[in-house]
């Protein structure tokens, strides 16, 4: 009886996000058609959809998405490979962490965008400066999360492992990795999201491809429909990246007996 009664509200709850989405697009379309703004300043959803198809048909959109993704994953991957082990070492040895702390704390608040001029001077034009920027974007948050999560491991885990005769390698693999996983993985997920935000800015400055370049290039030709198409693509790909990270996280969490992450959105 109760579940019968709940059914309509469950369906509504499932549909609601889509309804709100459609409603917002409708308002956008209505404003675009009202004539308050020039079509060049506010392209309508229909025009954006057509621009997306146009970009999609000749494969240009896909190429730009791929260019951005390659840079993000290269920079992100490199940064994780350096930051996580470094964080584990600094987290384990307090003296070392104290020694490195000032330099980390001073470099950390510098926006990755501020690195762009040097990045271009150092690495020229191409993928390398973008990868460097993404490295900087990812490195510090992941490093800090790794340090703090190692330092906050329950001492009893290590104590118990040592009592059973665990070597340093056993402690790293069997204790530190799984114990720090929840905290470190959240930082990876946030860092990947930030990297996706930053790559667009980096590509607007010194790149000849990527979604950031696409947006800037479209603006130069006054194709605001393509600008918005590029923006929405960034949003959708970013959303997909986050969703993939959550599903990986939940898969590992399930294996390691942690509770599932609740995802925001629909």
């Amino acid at each position: 009886m109760v579940s019968e009664k709940n059914r309509p509200s469950k369906i509504l709850r499932f549909l609601m996000p889509y309804l709100v989405l459609v409603f917002c697009i409708g308002i956008w379309q209505a404003i675009a058609m009202s004539g308050w703004f020039l079509p060049d300043l506010l392209p309508s959803p229909v025009a954006v959809f057509q621009a997306t198809l146009e970009l999609g048909q000749n494969g240009i959109l896909f190429q730009h998405i791929l260019a951005s993704l390659v840079r993000v994953f290269a920079g992100f991957g490199l940064a994780v490979l350096v930051a996580v082990p470094m964080g584990f070492v600094l987290g384990r040895y307090r003296r070392l962490q104290e020694a490195f702390n000032p330099i980390i704390q001073i470099l950390r608040p510098i926006s990755p965008i501020a690195w762009i001029p040097l990045a271009i001077l150092w690495f020229g034009i191409g993928d390398k400066p973008a990868i460097f920027i993404i490295f900087i974007t990812t490195f510090f948050p992941v490093l800090v999360a790794s340090i703090t999560s190692v330092r906050n491991i329950e001492p009893i885990y290590v104590k118990t492992a040592v009592n059973f005769g665990a070597s340093d390698r056993d402690i790293l693999i069997k204790i530190i990795l799984p114990a720090t996983f929840p905290h470190v993985f959240v930082s990876l997920r946030i860092a990947l999201g930030t990297a996706w935000v930053i790559i667009v800015a980096a590509e607007m400055v010194g790149m000849r491809s990527g979604l950031g370049f696409l947006i800037l290039d479209a603006r130069n030709f006054l194709r605001t429909d393509m600008v918005v198409a590029g923006m929405l693509t960034i949003g959708l790909v970013g959303f997909a990246l986050d969703r993939i990270m959550v599903s990986i996280e939940n898969r590992i969490r399930k294996r390691w007996g942690y509770k599932h992450v609740h995802i925001f959105g629909f």
Binding site: Y157, K159, T160, V162, N163, F164, G165, A166, A179, Y258
Partner: protein
């Protein structure tokens, strides 16, 4: 060493604590209680309780015995050998269980065997044997967060027993449990101790618990933390918690503590 003619009946001294003391320098910010000069011998196969109020240094003493804390002076020897570092033959069980939340019950119990690089099939066999022994059959694939406090302590017990330690150090292991579970696990530990021939050093602040479990009880006191007296519990096993002799002993220890 012994002057007894029937020396075969005399149990061996397993742990010898010689002029042991521990000071924590004030600036180290340590909260652990200090320990005044202590001498003690614990016998092989003995169930030895250390009874005292909080802050009397009983946990400090236990952590030194297990090799986790270095004494300021004096020494501990086990089987005649100096003992200074943690050793899988002498396993500590803490109040907080020390179960790994990312491992299942089975994986937790196998942990010590894995570290020893025991044969994989042997690991499974031994782990299942001890899981059955602590009545956790059917819970092998659960994670610790799905278990009650009592069940967690059983897992910790199975994990400890699976590496076949000679000595088990227990630091108020049943503290976090309610009364019913506590009594159940006290019976369990006595059963396992009787069947498996271990030396157990058991820290508690519960007088009845110490009388129910121990062959001998060391009564500790505060400031400075020290062993005041060692009492032999001359009650037959299995013990009854409501016999006259039980109460008499309880009152005797109470008087000793409040003196």
């Amino acid at each position: 060493m012994s002057t007894y003619s029937d020396s075969e009946k005399q149990p061996m001294q397993k742990i010898i604590i010689d002029n042991l003391s521990k000071n924590y320098s004030a600036d180290a910010g340590k909260l652990d209680a200090a320990l005044d000069t202590t001498n003690l011998a614990i016998l092989d196969g003995e169930f030895f309780c250390i009874l005292g109020p909080s802050g009397c240094g009983k946990s400090t003493l236990l952590n030194i015995l297990a090799g986790f804390v270095q004494p300021t002076s004096g020494s501990v020897s086990i089987d005649g050998m100096p003992h200074t570092h943690p050793d899988p033959r002498f396993v500590m069980m803490d109040q907080e269980f020390g179960l790994f939340p990312w491992l299942t019950v089975l994986e937790n119990v196998k942990f010590g065997l894995e570290i020893k690089h025991a044969d994989k099939r042997e690991q499974d066999r031994i782990a299942h044997q001890f899981i059955d022994l602590v009545h956790l059959h059917g819970f092998e694939d659960r994670h610790p967060f799905e278990l009650s406090g009592g069940m967690k302590q059983r897992v910790a017990l199975a994990r400890t027993l699976s590496v076949n330690p000679e000595i088990i150090f227990m630091d108020e292991p049943f503290n976090a449990l309610d009364m019913v579970m506590r009594i159940g696990l006290q019976d369990e530990i006595i059963r396992l101790w009787t069947e498996h021939d271990k030396t157990i050093v058991f820290v508690t602040h519960d007088i009845e618990e110490s009388i129910y479990l121990a062959d001998r009880i060391a009564i500790m006191k505060n400031s400075p933390g020290r062993i005041e007296k060692v009492i032999k519990v001359e009650l037959d096993r299995p013990r009854s918690r409501d016999s006259d002799s039980f109460y008499k002993l309880k009152n005797k220890i109470l008087r000793e503590i409040t003196l």
